[in-house]
């Protein structure tokens, strides 16, 4: 079993990538935590989506999760700039979906912004993990793109929320140091090239209990990201924790009327 905490419905121009990914996930027994950053009609991937765009993104996620309930965990996409709407959208999605689920935040607002706080309080109440995109790019971040330093602030401010630390900070050397000592964060391996020592440095600073597998597929291949784990100097128990046990434990904190669990 593998849990991939970082999967998109589409990333890039290939409309067939997600179907390929689904087939591969079945072959390898991978549970996909899926978020949509673009509506199903392919009308772009706005960095700060409108309320309607957010709703249509999540409609697509919900459709996929309903069609593949054993394979897909929905991660509801929100734009914190919408404030009240973001909370209403999340409440509606949680009420409608009886199963493991979480939240995805991308680059609309830097994550140390106080506008995230009402959303975080809802996530704490529903025990929803938050996949927060982070990058520290020497080539320059997008205006609303969170750095690993920003996420450290948010994680400290909301210790009762579990965070999947998107892309391990992008530059994982920055991310590994920023996340040290935070009990409520889990470093998401997804995206970025499979560098020699990538997982090892995270295990050194965060321990294997705080690293989770993510791929950033279909833009990245599931296999190349799995190789980060299989190429690391970790033992079997640590590998299992990274590949699924840590994420499984995070989702196990949720309770569902139908008794659904991973």
């Amino acid at each position: 079993m593998i849990i991939d905490v970082h999967v998109h419905t589409r990333l890039g121009p290939d409309p067939h990538g997600f179907q390929y990914l689904l087939r591969q996930a079945e072959e390898l027994d991978v549970t996909l935590c899926v978020n949509s950053l673009s509506p199903k009609d392919g009308s772009g991937m706005p960095q700060s989506p409108t309320e309607d765009e957010v709703r249509r993104c999540n409609d697509w996620t919900a459709e996929l999760a309903a069609a593949q309930p054993a394979r897909i965990i929905p991660m509801w996409y929100l734009n914190p700039a919408h404030e009240d709407f973001a909370c209403r959208e999340l409440e509606a999605r949680v009420a409608a979906h009886d199963g493991p689920q979480g939240v995805k935040l991308w680059v609309a607002v830097r994550c140390n912004d106080p506008r995230l706080d009402p959303i975080m309080r809802l996530c704490a109440a529903h025990k929803l993990p938050v996949l927060q995109h982070t990058w520290f790019k020497v080539t320059g971040n997008l205006p609303g793109e969170s750095t690993p330093m920003d996420l450290r602030e948010l994680a400290l401010r909301h210790p009762d929320v579990s965070f999947f630390w998107g892309h391990c900070g992008g530059d994982y050397e920055y991310g590994a140091k920023c996340a040290r000592g935070l009990p409520n964060v889990y470093m998401d391996l997804g995206g970025g090239e499979a560098m020699n020592g990538y997982v090892d440095i995270l295990v050194e600073h965060e321990t294997a209990d705080h690293v989770v597998f993510g791929s950033d597929a279909p833009g990245r291949s599931l296999i190349s990201q799995l190789a980060k784990v299989y190429g690391a100097d970790v033992n079997e128990e640590q590998r299992e924790r990274i590949l699924y046990r840590n994420a499984q434990a995070v989702f196990a904190r949720q309770t569902h009327a139908n008794g659904a669990s991973l």
Binding site: G17, V138, M195, A217, P218, R220, S221, I223
Partner: protein, 256 residues
């Protein structure tokens, strides 16, 4: 398997595993890789390429059955032609690696053309290195863009009698070179930094043909399990997999 793109030596920006011949051989053995084409990693930053090439020659000569050296040249450095002669006559050079971005020359400049003309004269295979690692990870004082696909394609097209391996390019970069090259029978790519999108190996084979795609790791900078697992899981025929893993490199580099 044959690794068409690897290095020996250290990298200035972080400690790496598998930088010595013994350590690299241990990793290659673990993955079932019989041979590797290796270049001196310190030469990316050395001014004098001969210094790194001498070290590489010493490192590989006792492992001639495992390592094929790809010596690097910087055609903007004084005396490079004499250094090339040393590499040919003393080291038995048969493969030339160029880093146009780190060594700051354009392939279509006088210096670039001189290096490629020398490669043609010696019948070298030329490894054109797109980049070393994700540019977003670079040290803030050393930000080096990848070599543009159009520049690589133009070089491949301008020297149709030279065999080129485009190394360490991402999926989009390799496709850009392929799309823009007007001659392709002399054009090969390796997969170390492809790593997506899903179905990447299948797509490269569909676009270029499996006979133009080679297995490579970019060791010690990248995790070699990435290309190895990508190739193992790709939905391609056993024959195509064998071509990529071994046969294409054996033919290109003249390895038994």
């Amino acid at each position: 398997m044959i690794d068409a793109n690897a290095y020996l030596g250290n990298w200035p920006f972080r400690p790496l595993r598998y930088t010595t011949p013994d350590a690299l051989l241990g990793k290659l053995d673990a993955l079932g890789i019989e041979r590797a084409v290796v270049s001196p990693l310190p030469n990316v930053f050395y001014k004098d390429q001969l210094a790194g090439n001498r070290v590489l020659h010493d490192q590989v000569k006792t492992h001639a059955d495992r390592f094929l050296p790809a010596f690097t040249l910087n055609p903007t450095f004084p005396g490079w032609e004499e250094d090339l002669a040393i590499c040919v006559e003393e080291f038995g050079m048969g493969v030339m690696r160029l880093h146009p971005n780190y060594h700051r020359f354009a392939l279509d400049s006088a210096a670039g053309n001189a290096a490629l003309a020398a490669a043609r004269a010696h019948n070298f295979v030329v490894i054109l290195t797109v980049g070393i690692e994700d540019t977003r990870h670079h040290h803030p004082l050393v930000k080096v863009p990848d070599v543009p696909g159009a520049e690589l394609a133009a070089a491949v097209s301008a020297f149709p009698d030279v065999r080129f391996l485009i190394a360490a390019g991402a999926f989009a970069a390799l496709n850009a070179v392929w799309a823009e090259a007007t001659r392709r029978d002399n054009l090969y790519v390796e997969i170390s930094r492809v790593q997506g999108p899903v179905g990447d190996i299948e797509k490269l084979c569909a676009t270029m043909g499996a006979d133009h795609v080679l297995f490579g790791t970019n060791l010690p900078l990248h995790v070699p399990e990435a290309p190895a697992m990508a190739l193992a899981h790709a939905k391609i025929s056993a024959g195509e997999r064998r071509q990529i893993a071994h046969d294409n490199a054996a033919r290109l580099f003249g390895l038994a």
